[in-house]
Amino acid sequence: MIRTKDSLRMSYRASVLLAATLLPLAVAAGDPIAGKEKSATCAACHGADGVSSAPTFPTLAGQHETYLVQSLKQYRDGSRKNAVMAPMAANLSDEDIADLAAFYARQKGPLKTVKY
């Protein structure tokens, strides 16, 4: 096969595309075991397994992982405002957030998608 400039450019593009596709997967993969360790502070309000006993604090057990990531990032960047959560999220790295979300999403709880 003769590699023309065009075909090289094509394969370069393909590899960039592949990397761009894989990158979000790498970022999203949290470690639930590390998340459990990091959740000690959260347990005071959200419960040890993410089922909160106080009704003003949301239950996190069984919530969608990507929603939990989104929420923590919004608390961290201030786009979601909450006096309690802002300082909690302020010092979390992307990895911490991914780990915490992976842990809570895997706990058993009452949360469900609504069915009639």
Partner: protein
Amino acid sequence: MRAIAFFLLAGASAAASAADVEAGKVKFDTCMGCHGIESYTNAYPTYDVPRVAGQHAAYLEAALKAYRSRERNHPTMISQAASLSDEDIADIAAFLAQAGQ
């Protein structure tokens, strides 16, 4: 002291039972388009729409009121919550809280 606690408890449960689960179910109909589909995602950024059945009513009420006042910023939820009364919000929250059982 005990009498005060009793009145507070009685008042709280009266307020909670004032919410109408059946009415909440009817009012939630519009919401089913997103919150009734297991794998439904927000368009941008992409993340799964939260599971809300089985969530605490008090938290859900606070969330809907925060959308209504635009304190919590999500374009779709702001427009959904804009026309809800306190009663609507209480009814919807009561319906959702028991929908997890």
